[in-house]
């Protein structure tokens, strides 16, 4: 079984404020990144995946319906909160807490605590007996991560684990996450803004926008999408140009659309080229802002900023060389109208 979580028509509300409205989302095993702007619902989704928040709709975990089994399933899943909380105890007791609950023997607990602290780069002798209040922010973050690693979870959920820490701490945190996935086969699902790391380490990326989600590193095009009078198709004009989408069957509201990176082609900006593309294509003028290596495919991912909207696409080294693509180059992005899917 490939997917660790499968979500269907899942919604969550804080009071009357709808925070998540996911029609369908599969999260595969592996290292999965969660990206989206502030307030898009990353933390909320992670708490739901950790069985900490109630929701409406269907979710399955490891192929089993989660309804009423949250308590049992919570044992193999753990979440590092966006603002971690340390118990008012020593570092050792913080990391050992979950192990004690699971009835680990004294020796086993000590071994695991020292292993976990080492994984996040905190020497046992120096830190184990420090009280919670004698730690820097970055150290506290790493202790919190160590207390999750000690559990050797099947799923490790991380909410911006490297925000608010310096580069060295961030590197140690990222390293320990990668090793957890490698050593214990844990699935890691991490919300992060560190896109360079994401493309280097992630095996899948889930994109979020205002509570909508799509997997496969999809590029999201927020609406409002409205029927275009002259064309009969859906259109949105909020991004400095007009994007079209086919009238979708089944999708009941057109808040946000997604385009997979594989459907996007980029070429150096060329007005004649733009004019030559037929009605079947969306096109947008933009600038390459970033190029990074995608470890999974061995290829290169380019981010193109078109009027504030970022499109990511995969490039081959051949294309890059042929057209002299690099950050700063003005390009046109093309993708078939039929590839735009509402989420």
């Amino acid at each position: 079984m490939k997917n660790i979580y499968e979500l269907r028509s899942l919604t969550h509300k804080y009071g009357s404020h709808a925070t998540l409205g996911i029609k369908s989302l599969d999260i595969p095993k592996g290292v999965v990144g969660l990206v989206g702007p502030n307030g898009s619902g990353k933390s909320t989704l992670l708490k739901i995946l950790a069985f900490l928040l109630p929701y409406e709709g269907k979710m399955s975990y490891c192929g089993r319906e989660t309804a009423d089994k949250e308590r049992e399933m919570r044992k193999s899943v753990t979440l590092l909160l966006q603002e971690p909380y340390l118990l008012r105890r020593s570092v050792f007791e913080n990391v050992a807490y979950g192990l004690t609950l699971r009835g680990c023997s004294r020796g086993e607990t000590e071994a695991r605590v020292s292993d976990s602290l080492a994984r996040v780069g905190l020497p046992f002798g120096e830190f184990a007996h420090r009280p919670w209040y004698r730690l820097s922010g970055g150290e506290a973050q790493r202790v919190s991560l160590a207390s999750r690693l000690a559990l050797r979870p099947e799923v490790l959920l991380l909410d911006e684990p490297t925000a608010n820490v310096d580069e060295l701490s961030a590197a140690k945190i990222k390293d320990s996450i990668t090793k957890a996935a490698r050593d214990w086969g844990s699935t890691v699902i991490a919300a992060t803004h560190d896109l360079v790391w994401l493309y280097e380490a992630a095996t899948d990326i889930v994109s979020l926008y205002e509570g909508r989600a799509a997997g496969g590193a999809a590029n999201l095009i927020p609406g409002p999408w409205k029927i275009d009078e002259t064309d009969g198709r859906f259109a949105t004009t909020g991004w400095g140009c007009k994007f079209l989408a086919n009238v979708a069957s089944g999708a009941e509201d057109m808040t946000c659309a997604a385009v997979s990176p594989g459907d996007i082609t980029i070429r150096p900006a060329d007005d004649e080229g733009i004019a030559a593309t037929g009605k079947g294509f969306n096109r947008a003028r933009g600038v390459i802002t970033q190029m990074s290596i995608e470890k999974l495919s061995g290829g290169i991912v380019a981010a193109v900023n078109c009027g504030g909207l970022t499109f990511r696409t995969r490039l081959t080294r051949g294309t890059i060389a042929e057209y002299g693509l690099c950050p700063g180059v003005e390009v046109d992005a093309f993708f078939p109208v039929s590839s735009v899917k509402f989420i």
């Binding site: 708490k47 900490l52 919570r74 753990t78 909160l81 909380y85 118990l87 807490y97 979950g98």
Partner: protein, 231 residues
């Protein structure tokens, strides 16, 4: 003014020479307040936790009731407990009237609202992050409760100190339920009432100082505990 200074010096004399009768009142006071405190914490902490942690219908009303009971007059508690444990009362067969046990029940009722109300508000004030953290580390049920209480230990220590203050200082319950029986249910506070009534101010002051000393010792002990958990 003389009797105040006289009282002070006789107090020192009493404390150092400690006659058997005074000593008995001190012992009764200690035994009584310690059992009342133990009983209060045993019932009050779980009750306060439940009240502060769980959302249920009627929770507001119970909270308000507990807050109101904070101002319960000691003589009213004395009266109610008396009615229940006197020979004609529903619990009469247990012979609790004029016993330290009966007094402890009264004092527990007196201190319980303090511990319940303060524990509930301490638990309510804990951050949601703590609850999420404990859940995601695998805690539930009583482990969850114990950890939450441990996390709010400073607030709970203050609750315990406040409750102890009320217990050690009250006269109403001790007088009505205990009956101020020499060698048996006489406590320092009831002894003070008696001696002052008899006009022996000096002895009254001496006993008052003793009470203060006990209170002080207990509070120093608790602060020490607080300090220990701190570092």
């Amino acid at each position: 003014m003389d009797y105040i200074t006289e009282g002070f010096f006789r107090a020192l004399g009493l404390i150092f020479s400690m006659n058997e009768e005074t000593w008995s009142a001190v012992r009764t006071t200690m035994r009584l307040t310690m059992s009342s405190m133990a009983l209060t914490l045993l019932i009050g902490l779980p009750l306060g936790f439940a009240l502060g942690y769980h959302e249920f219908r009627g929770r507001r009303i119970i909270r308000t009731a507990a807050d109101t009971l904070l101002a319960l007059p000691t003589v009213v508690v004395g009266l109610i407990v008396y009615a229940f444990i006197s020979n004609r009362g529903p619990l009469g067969k247990w012979q609790l009237l004029f016993s330290v046990k009966g007094m402890a029940i009264g004092q527990t009722i007196l201190a319980l609202p303090i511990v319940v109300a303060l524990t509930a508000s301490a638990i309510e004030n804990l951050e949601e992050r703590l609850r999420f953290t404990l859940l995601t580390l695998g805690a539930s049920g009583w482990r969850m409760a114990v950890t939450c209480l441990a996390e709010s230990r400073y607030a709970l220590l203050v609750a315990a100190m406040t409750a102890y203050g009320r217990i050690v200082a009250e006269v109403g319950v001790s007088m009505m339920i205990g009956g101020n029986i020499k060698w048996h249910t006489r406590t320092i506070t009831t002894a003070i009432t008696l001696e002052t009534g008899k006009g022996d101010f000096a002895l009254g002051i001496a006993l008052g100082l003793l009470l203060l000393l006990i209170s002080f010792a207990v509070n120093v002990g608790l602060s020490f505990v607080k300090h220990r958990t701190d570092s």
